[in-house]
Symmetry: C2
Subunit: 739 residues, 2 copies
C-alpha cells in the first residue's frame, strides 16, 4: 500500500569533474523541502567488494603484511591526532593574537576619548575592526568554498552515516574553514571555534589516510590499501573524534561522538584506534599550548574550552530543579532555523559584516548603559576576567566582563564567579541580547560553531535561575551557589539545540572534571531532548532534513513491520550479463534519467543473480578499455589490477568524459573478475525492520532482493529505507526528487 | 583443505531440567584442553525469529505500545542500576562491619599479649577467624553453586559474546556470589570485591528484565515481551555495565566494558540505556554510602574503590618510563594459570581455609619482623591509613599499614602517601609476598575478584620503581613523587593480567579523576597488552580457552580469505518439510549423536529453503501437541501464541520429558506459522571473513548456506567460525569435542 509505482531507484552520481568544479563556485540552489528526499547524494559503501582481484590480493598477503597494515593504521591515527591538535593550537593562538590586538586598539581609544563624541569614534573603530575581520571570513567562505560555512557538524554526521556529501573532506575546505573560523571569532561574532574543529579533524583524517592530495595533485604512493570507502570512513571517524577531543579536552567524549554518529558496527580495534587519535590530539594541544603559555609540561589546557574544575557538591533535592531547567531549553532552534537564506555571495558577505557591526554596537551600548559596577575584591579568581569598562577605579563592569571577553572566558566566569558577581538585571539583559545576536548570527555564511554561544546563553539564564531561586525558595540558605545552575543551564541549552545525548554528557563531564555531575547532566540532557523533540527536531537534524539527505537512523520506524522488501525495493532493476556488450554498458551508464550506481550481474537464461558491479568499477573498466573483441583475436582481456581502481578513487570520471569508438561498442566486457560475486541478498518477504537491520549493521549500499529461485527482482538502496519515517500520523513516506 | 568430513554441526542442548539440577551440585569434570572447542555450549540468538506470530503481534501493536515498551526498558534499566548499587552497598557495608569486628578482636589480643607466647595466641586467633570466614565462603560456593567461583568475568564475557553459559545468570548464583565475596574479603584473602560486582549486575539484569524468577517459581506477568535472547542480552549488558560502574565509580567505563565485550551492533538508544543504568548504579551507591557514613548528600564515594583524586602533573619525559613499566607487567598470568585444579569440594574448602591461615600467618610474620617504623607526622592524610603495629608510640608501622588494611585502602595509601612513607625493603618484601599469595589465592573455590590484588601488586612495585628512580637518574630531583609510578604500575599490572584496553583506560581515568593521565595510562595498557600477548593470552581469555568455549572474536583471522563458506559450513544438514510427520521430528530431536538446535525448513521437491526452525520451538510445539491429524478430522492445528513460547523461555524441557503416543507420531505438524520464513543466507563461495562479519554483526546463531538455486547445502554456526584462529604457524583449526 505504500508502494509507489516508480520506475527505479536512482542512486545518482554526483561526482564532479575538476572542470565542473572550477566553474561552480557557488552552491546549487536546492529547493529546501523536508518532505523530499534528494537523489543527488551518493552513498558510501562500507561493504568490501570481494571480487577476484581483492581475494587474490588478500590471499597473497601473509601474516606479516596484515601486521604492517595494522601498524600503518595506528601511525595514521597518531598523525591525525597530532595534526588535529596542531590545527586547534593554530586557531587558538591566532585568534588570541588577533583579538588581543583588537582589544588593545579599542581600549586605547576608549581610554583616550572619554567624552561622548570620542565614544562614537571608539564605537566606530570597534565596529569597523569587527566588520573587517568578518568580511575576510565571509568572502573566503562565500566565494571559494561555500560548504565550509557553519560548523560542518551536520555534514560530518551525514558522512559518518554513509552519505557522500560532495567536497566535504577536501583540503581546500579545510583551509577555508580554518581561516574562516579565525576571522569570525576574532571579529567578535557570537560564535565558537569548537564545532569547526570536528570538521577539520575529519578532513585531516580523510587526507592523511589516503596518502595523497588530489587538490595538490600530489601522490605519496603510501597507504594505497586504504583507498576505499570502508577504510576511509573509519579514519574519518577517528578524525572527528580527534576534533571533539581537541575542542573540549574530552577524548572519551570524542570516541562516543564518532560512535553515536557513525559506526554502527562496533569494532574493538577500530574504537581503540579512534581513542588513540583522540588522546594524541588533546595531548598535542595541551603540550603545545603549555609551551606557548611558557608553562612547559604543565598540561593544564586539554581543550580549546575548559570549564575549570567543579568542586561544588549538589544535593539530591536539586535534581528536580535541574530537570525543570532541561525542560525549558528547546526554544532556540526555531529561531535559528527560521532564518531566511540569502543566496547571493555578495549579499552574504554584506550581511555578515552588518551582523558584526551590530554586535559591536549592541555590546558597546550595553556596557555603556549598564552600571553594574562591582568592587574588584569580590573577584578572587586568578584569571583576568574583570574589565573596568566605564566604572570607577577599583571596580569592574560586570556587563563589560560578559561582553568584552572571549565567549569561552565568559562561560567560565559564569560558572565559577562567586555569588553576587552578577546583578539580576545585567544577566537578564545579557541573556536576551546575546540570544537574539546568536540566532541572527547563526546561518551567516561564515565558518563558526554553535556550541559556545549555546553554552553562553545557557550559562547566563542558568545563573539567572540560580540567582532567583533564593527569592522564591522556602529556605533560601541552601541555594547559595548559582554556578552549578549556570552549568546545568548551559547543558540544557546545548542539549536543547544539538540534541546529542550520550556523547554530550561525557563531553560535559570530562570538561567539568567531576564525575558526580554525570547523573544530573544526563537527566538534564534527556529532559531537554524529550521535551525538545516534542516540538521540533534538533538543529543538526533539521538541517539534514532541509537538505533532503537520505539519512538512516538507528532502527527502522517501530510500526514498519507491515512492510516487506517487496514493497520497499526499487524495481525493475537494470542488470548486466556476466559478459556484456560494451555498447549496452555505455548506454546504460549514459542514461541520465536512470542514473544507477549499482548493477546486479545475472546469468542470462534463468536470470539468476551471480554478482554485483558498481558504476565506478565499470567506469574504470571502460577507461582502461578492458574489452574482449567479438572476433576473439585477443582472447584475454587486458589485465587490470586493484591499483587501477584505487588510483581512480574517489573521484571517478563521469561517463561523458570517456570516449568509446563505434568498433569498441561492439566488443564484449567480461565482468566476472571485477564484480562482487557474493552480494548480500534478502528474500522478498523480509520485513522492513529486518532489511533495515542488515543494511545498517553492515553499512551496505545495495541490497539485492531475490525470489525463491535466486532471481533478481529488486534492489534496496539507502533512499528506499530512508523514505519511511514515523510522523505525527503514523508511518509516513517521503518523496524522492532529482534535486 | 581445512574441511574435515564430520557429519554435522551440533549445537548441543545443555538445558538442565530442575530434577537434573538438583542431583548435580558439583561441576562436570571437563577435560580442559585449549586445542578443543566444546560442543556443550548453546549459543544465544540475537536475531529475532520473525515468524507469522511475531509479525502479527508487531503489526497489531500501535505506536503507543512501542512507546510503552520503550518506557518499560528505561524503567528496567533504572531498576537494574538501583539494585546493583544496593548490592554493592550491602557488600561494602557488611565487609566493613565484619572486618571491623575481626580487627578489633585481633588488635585487642595483640595489645594484651605483647610477649612472644601471647603473640602466638593472637596469631592463631587471627588465622582462625580468617579461616572461619573463608570456610563459609568456600562451602557455599563448592557445594551449592560452583559457577559462582572466581570473579565471573570470563563467564559474563562469554554470555555477552553470545554463548549460553549454564546457570550463570540465576538468582541462586547471585546469592552465593554475594555471600561468598563477603566471606572471602572479610577473611583477609588477597582478593577484591570489584570483579564479582560485574557478575552480580548481570544476574540482577537477567532477573529483573524477565519479570519473574524461575528459581522462586514466581511470575509477575510483566515484561513478557522481553522474554527472548535478543532483549535479555541487551539488559545483561546494562547489568554488567552497572556492575562496573558501582565497583569503580566509572559509569562511562562500564558502558565501554559492555560494548567492548558484548555488543557488536552499536545501537544509540541501547547504549544510552546502558549508560543510564550505570549512572543510576553509581549514584545509588554513592547516595546510600553517604547516608551510611552520615554525610548525607556529599556523594564522595562513587565506587567501591576510589583512587582519590590525582593532582600530580607528569612530564613528557616520564612517558617512556611509564611505557617501560607497561612492558614488564605480564608476569602474573602464567603463575595464576598454572595453578592445579582441585576438584573435590571438600578438598576445595580445606584448601581455601589453608590459604586463609597462611595469608594471616605471613602477614603477621611480615609485620613482626619488619621494623619499618615511621613517625606519625609524615602521614598527613586525614584517612586512617596508619597502624601502630609493633612500633613505639607516636610511630606507625609501614608494613602493618600495607598488610593489615583492606586492600582498597592499601592501594590508595600507595598512590597518595608522600615520598618517604615506605622503605625500599618493606615495599620489596611486600610486593614479593603479596604476589605469591595472590597467585596462590587465585583459582580457589571462592567468589573473589582479581582486580584489587593486581592493582595492589602493581602499585607496590610501581612505587618501588618510583623510589628507586632517583638513585639511578642523572637528575634525581625531578623524580620526587613515587605516587604516580604507583598508579602506572597498578595500571600496567592490571592491564598485563586482564588485557582489557579501552574500557580499562576509561575506568582508571574515571577512578583517578584526572583526564590528563589518560594518555600515559593508555600507552601503558597498550604496551602491557602487546608485550603480554607475545607470551601468553590474558587471564580471562586463557580461562575461556581452557573451558573450550566457542568464543567469537571481533574479526575473522586476517589470513582466512582463502576459506569459503563451503569449507567452513557443516553438512549434510538435517532439514524438515513445511508439513512434517511428528514421528520424524521426535526422532530427529531425540537423536543424541546429532544434537542439532536449528533446522532449515525446505520445500520437498526441489529442496529449496523456505525457513528455519529452532529445537526450542519444536519442543514447545510438541508439548502443546500442535498436530494436524492425517485424517484431517481437525483441519486446524491448535492455535499457539507467542505467549506459549515466552512462558517456556529460557528453560525449555528436554525432548525426553515429552511423551508422544504412537497415534500422535502419525500426525503431521505444520511448521509454516512458526518457522522464521526469512533466515539470513549466504552463497557457498562467500569468503570466511564475509561470513564472519555477517554472523558477528547480526549476532546470528544459524546461517544457512545455499547454492545458486537457493537449495540448502550447509549450515554455519558459532563453532564453525570459532574453530579458526591465528596461531604461531598461521591459520590453525581447533577440533570439536562433545565434552
Amino acid at each position: 500500500m505504500f508502494h509507489i509505482g516508480r520506475l527505479s531507484t536512482v542512486d545518482l552520481d554526483e561526482d564532479i569533474t575538476p572542470e565542473e568544479d572550477a566553474v561552480r563556485s557557488k552552491p546549487k540552489e536546492i529547493p529546501h523541502n523536508e518532505k523530499l528526499l534528494s537523489l543527488k547524494y551518493e552513498s558510501l559503501d562500507y561493504d568490501n567488494i570481494e571480487n577476484h582481484l581483492f581475494l587474490e590480493e588478500e590471499r597473497r598477503m601473509g601474516h606479516m603484511s596484515f601486521r604492517c597494515l595494522e601498524i600503518s593504521r595506528w601511525v595514521i591515527c597518531g598523525l591525525i591526532g597530532v595534526l588535529t591538535g596542531l590545527i586547534a593550537c593554530f586557531i587558538d593562538i591566532v585568534v588570541e593574537k588577533l583579538a588581543g590586538v583588537k582589544y588593545v586598539v579599542v581600549k586605547k581609544s576608549i581610554d583616550k576619548n572619554t567624552e561622548i563624541g570620542g565614544m562614537c569614534i571608539s564605537l566606530i573603530l570597534w565596529a569597523a575592526l569587527n566588520s573587517a575581520f568578518v568580511m575576510v571570513g565571509a568572502i573566503i567562505v562565500a566565494f571559494f568554498e561555500p560548504i565550509a560555512a557553519g560548523s560542518g557538524i551536520p555534514q560530518i554526521k551525514c558522512y559518518l552515516n554513509g552519505v557522500k556529501v560532495p567536497r566535504v573532506v577536501r583540503l581546500k575546505t579545510l583551509m577555508v574553514k580554518v581561516c574562516g573560523v579565525i576571522c569570525s571569532v576574532a571579529g567578535g561574532l557570537a560564535v565558537g571555534k569548537e564545532g569547526p574543529m570536528i570538521h577539520s579533524g575529519a578532513v585531516v583524517a580523510a587526507g592523511v589516510s589516503q596518502g595523497r592530495s588530489t587538490s595538490l595533485k600530489k601522490d605519496f604512493k603510501i597507504f594505497e590499501y586504504f583507498r576505499r570507502d570502508t577504510e576511509k570512513r573509519d579514519f574519518v571517524s577517528a578524525g572527528a573524534a580527534a576534533g571533539v577531543s581537541a575542542a573540549f579536552g574530552a577524548p572519551v567524549g570524542g570516541v562516543l561522538f564518532s560512535l553515536e554518529e557513525g559506526a554502527s558496527f562496533w569494532n574493538q580495534l577500530l574504537t581503540w584506534r579512534i581513542f588513540f587519535a583522540s588522546m594524541i590530539s588533546t595531548f598535542t594541544l595541551n603540550f603545545v599550548l603549555s609551551i606557548y603559555h611558557k608553562k612547559t609540561g604543565e598540561l593544564s589546557s586539554p581543550g580549546l574550552i575548559n570549564f575549570g574544575s567543579f568542586d561544588l557538591k549538589y544535593n539530591i533535592y536539586e535534581i528536580p530543579l535541574f530537570i525543570v531547567m532541561g525542560a525549558i531549553a528547546y526554544g532556540c532552534v526555531n529561531q535559528m532555523v527560521s532564518r531566511r537564506y540569502v543566496h547571493r555571495p555578495c549579499l552574504q558577505v554584506m550581511e555578515a559584516m552588518l551582523v558584526a557591526a551590530v554586535t559591536a554596537t549592541v555590546s558597546f551600548a550595553m556596557i555603556y548603559f549598564s552600571n553594574d559596577c562591582q568592587p574588584l575584591e569580590t573577584q578572587k579568581s586568578s584569571e583576568d576576567y574583570s574589565l573596568q569598562g566605564f566604572c570607577a577605579d577599583g571596580e569592574y563592569s560586570a556587563m563589560a566582563t560578559a561582553f568584552f571577553n572571549t565567549p569561552e572566558r565568559s562561560v567560565r566566569s559564569l560558572f565559577h564567579s562567586p555569588a553576587g558577581t552578577y546583578k539580576l538585571e545585567t544577566l537578564g539583559c545579557f541573556t536576551l541580547v546575546y540570544f537574539f545576536l546568536a540566532c541572527w548570527t547563526y546561518g551567516l555564511t561564515v565558518s563558526a560553531g554553535v556550541f559556545i554561544p549555546s553554552l553562553l546563553i545557557g550559562a547566563a539564564w542558568g545563573r539567572l535561575f540560580g540567582i532567583m531561586l533564593p527569592y522564591i525558595a522556602l529556605n533560601p540558605s541552601v541555594f547559595t551557589d548559582p554556578g552549578k545552575y549556570a552549568l546545568m543551564g548551559a547543558a540544557a541549552q546545548l542539549g536543547g539545540i544539538v540534541r546529542m545525548t550520550l556523547s554530550l554528557t561525557v563531553i560535559l563531564v570530562e570538561a567539568t572534571g567531576n564525575v558526580t555531575y554525570g547523573l544530573p547532566i544526563m537527566l538534564v540532557l534527556m529532559t531537554a531532548k524529550i521535551v525538545g523533540d516534542y516540538f521540533i527536531e534538533g538543529l543538526y537534524d533539521v538541517h539534514i532534513k532541509l537538505q533532503s539527505v537520505p539519512f538512516l537512523h538507528w532502527d527502522a520506524p517501530a510500526t514498519s513491520h507491515s512492510l516487506t522488501a517487496r514493497e520497499v525495493m526499487s524495481s525493475p532493476v537494470t542488470c548486466f550479463n556476466r559478459v556484456e556488450k560494451v555498447g549496452t554498458i555505455v548506454d546504460v551508464l549514459s542514461n541520465t534519467s536512470t542514473n544507477h550506481n549499482g548493477f546486479p550481474v545475472i546469468i542470462q537464461t534463468p536470470g539468476k543473480l551471480c554478482g554485483l558491479i558498481l558504476r565506478s568499477q565499470l567506469i574504470v573498466l571502460l577507461k582502461h578499455k578492458v574489452f574482449v573483441e567479438r572476433a576473439r583475436s585477443r582472447l584475454r582481456q587486458r589485465k587490470l589490477q586493484l591499483k587501477d581502481f584505487r588510483d581512480a578513487y574517489p573521484r571517478f570520471p563521469p561517463i561523458q568524459s570517456i570516449h568509446v569508438s563505434q568498433d569498441e561498442r561492439e566488443c564484449m566486457m567480461d565482468l566476472t573478475e571485477f564484480m562482487n560475486p557474493t552480494p548480500y541478498t534478502v528474500p522478498q518477504d523480509t520485513s522492513l525492520p529486518r532489511v533495515f537491520k542488515l543494511f545498517r549493521a553492515l553499512g551496505l549500499r545495495h541490497l539485492v532482493v531475490v525470489d525463491d529461485d535466486n532471481r533478481v527482482i529488486g534492489l534496496v538502496t539507502r533512499k528506499d529505507l530512508a523514505r519511511y519515517h514515523l510522523g505525527k500520523h503514523g508511518l509516513e513516506e517521503l518523496h524522492l526528487a532529482h534535486t
